[in-house]
């Protein structure tokens, strides 16, 4: 059984077909890259998986369970986490608080325990904080823990979004342009970080990215979207030489 699967998924907005018959199978532990020109439907594809949109047609499955009717909240509780292309951190919360609030699913202390501040509540808080410190340390954000998240640099905000997603303890992590706005050094660090969390948290990853060096070094398998249609699928080498992809997205190599 495949870990994650979409069967003939389509999304239409009025007369516009944003995604057409997407068939995709992911095995546990895989890293899949999704590339394509702007407006190809990459982020719509993420919104389809995370439950922001319902498919107009077709079905989605995670570990054999059908996702179609589940809300974004329920899908997150099943282990699907994501980051956003246009960063969506909580403007009023500090770096530490973003991670604490994302740990709430595993935070079994109830409402009245928070009000009465029972012992159990205290222990839970300690546990969450320990976990948070580890995650922030991994991304080298520990020294910023008490800074309001909106005061971070763009690259730090992107990395904080990954930390927040990891704090929900996901199985399937979707990264929407994680390297956008980063310089070459930051990109290199990011690639090794993504490899590290992939190993350490036993994640299955789907990654949208425009930077080909990042995609090619991270993803053994790549899907190319164009006008909502998956026009090609294969290894980096196959994608690079696929004429359809070259025409739609990569562009021809010009001999100097």
């Amino acid at each position: 059984m495949a870990f994650f699967e979409t069967k003939n998924c389509s999304i239409t907005f009025g007369g516009l077909k944003a995604l057409t018959d997407i068939n995709l199978t992911l095995n546990a532990g895989e890293i899949l890259g999704v590339i394509g020109p702007n407006g190809a439907g990459k982020t719509t594809f993420f919104n389809l998986i995370t439950g922001v949109y319902e498919p107009s047609d077709g079905d989605l499955f995670l570990e054999g369970k059908k996702l179609n009717q589940l809300s974004a909240t329920e899908r997150s509780q099943m282990g699907i986490a994501r980051t956003f292309q246009n960063i969506r951190l909580f403007a009023g919360l500090t770096v530490a608080e973003q991670v604490q609030v994302a740990s709430l699913q595993g935070f079994k202390a109830g409402f009245y325990e928070s009000i009465l501040q029972t012992k159990k509540y205290g222990l839970k808080v300690d546990e969450v904080n320990k976990n948070m410190a580890e995650l922030l340390g991994l991304f080298d954000l520990n020294h910023l823990a008490n800074t309001p998240a909106i005061d971070l640099s763009y690259g730090d905000q992107r990395r904080l979004e990954i930390v927040r997603a990891l704090a929900t303890n996901p199985k399937l992590l979707l990264l929407d342009e994680p390297a956008a706005g980063m310089n070459a050094t930051e990109k290199k660090t990011l690639v090794s970080l993504i490899q590290k969390i992939h190993q350490e948290f036993k994640l299955t990853l789907i990654l949208i990215e425009h930077d080909m060096s990042v995609v090619m070094s991270l993803c053994p398998r790549i899907v190319v979207l164009d006008y909502g249609v998956a026009i090609a699928e294969g290894s980096p080498a196959e994608i690079r030489s696929n004429p359809k992809v070259i025409e739609a997205y990569l562009g021809e190599v010009i001999d100097a």
Binding site: S71, A72, L93, L104, F107, F111, I115
Partner: protein
């Protein structure tokens, strides 16, 4: 444990003031201090809905009326049941709060799917509906007003319950669970992406806010011994909204501060007679120009987060 003793001694001093000193206090100022307590209770409960969870509600006077009339009906008609007065009074207040909370739950489930302006209009309508319904219920006085409510509320009860509300709300909002309210306020899509259900937290804030507004209404009823629906028009809701905005959205300390300022200010302005409300309005405008994020912004007094 140390904190518990502090709270117990605060309550002890409140009792000491009530039964030791208040007979000698100026009745006029005592009444104003009591109104500060009730307004503060209203402001911090609305602050949970507006400031922390970001839902613009104009129905607070309605919930206050529900709590006030329910608890007054219990103490007036239940006076002959032979229940000791403090038990009857606290029980009535609690049931008034619960009734307001139940109504808010039934109204909240459909309306909290609305956003921003739409929610404001829906809650505005709700407040008026509650008022007009009460106006037509003869059982609680109808258009004549509800008279002969026993004078059970006093300085001690008002401020003890205010203390309880501050503890409750501060611990709720500044606990790990409470971060969820702030997350929902800041970004609902991101909140659901980390497994929080925005509608659930919005409804929770709405219901809890309505509960404490109901308690405030009950205290109001048993302080003035008389209720009329004219006290619960939407202008009352606006007044509470002004307190929350002026204090700083999302700051419990700010709500307490501005409830005090906005209750005392009209009294000081009595010297200006006819121009009083004009000056009051002008001062409000001026304060918002000088401090657009309210008196305290989102800041809290240091101790507020450690209650």
């Amino acid at each position: 444990m140390k904190r518990t003793w502090i709270y117990i001694s605060v309550v002890f001093f409140l009792a000491l003031f009530q039964w030791g000193l208040s007979p000698y206090a100026n009745a006029y100022w005592l009444q104003i201090i009591n109104m500060i307590g009730i307004n503060a209770l209203l402001a911090i409960s609305l602050n949970l809905i507006m400031g922390h969870t970001g839902q613009f509600s104009l129905g607070h006077a309605g919930f206050m009326a529900l709590g006030g009339y329910t608890s007054a009906a219990i103490t007036v008609y239940g006076g002959s049941w032979g229940i000791p007065v403090p038990v009857l009074f606290i029980g009535a207040l609690f049931l008034g709060g619960v009734f307001a909370a139940i109504v808010s739950l039934f109204v909240g489930i459909p309306t909290l799917r609305l956003k921003g302006d739409y929610l404001a209009i829906a809650t505005l309508g709700l407040g008026e509906i509650i008022r007009v319904i009460i106006l037509n219920v003869d059982f609680v006085g109808g258009a004549r007003g509800f008279t002969d409510i026993p004078e059970y509320a006093n300085f001690f009860w008002i401020f003890t319950l205010l203390l309880a509300a501050i503890l409750f709300l501060s611990r709720l909002v500044y606990s790990n669970k409470g971060l969820a309210f702030l997350a929902v306020r800041d970004d609902e899509i991101a909140a659901s992406s980390i497994g929080l259900n925005p509608v659930k937290y919005k409804i929770a804030a709405f219901v809890i806010g309505a509960f404490w507004a109901g308690i405030a209404g009950g205290l109001f009823a048993h302080l003035n011994t008389y209720l009329h629906t004219n006290s619960f028009t939407f202008l009352r809701s606006i007044e509470v909204v002004a307190m929350v905005v002026l204090g700083g959205m999302g700051s419990i300390s700010g709500s307490l501060l501005s409830a005090t300022v906005l209750t005392v200010l009209p009294e000081f302005l009595r010297v200006a007679s006819e121009a009083r409300m004009i000056i009051y309005a002008l001062l409000l405008v001026l304060m918002m120009i000088l401090r657009p994020y309210g008196l305290l912004g989102k800041r809290e007094f240091k101790w507020m987060k450690k209650l």
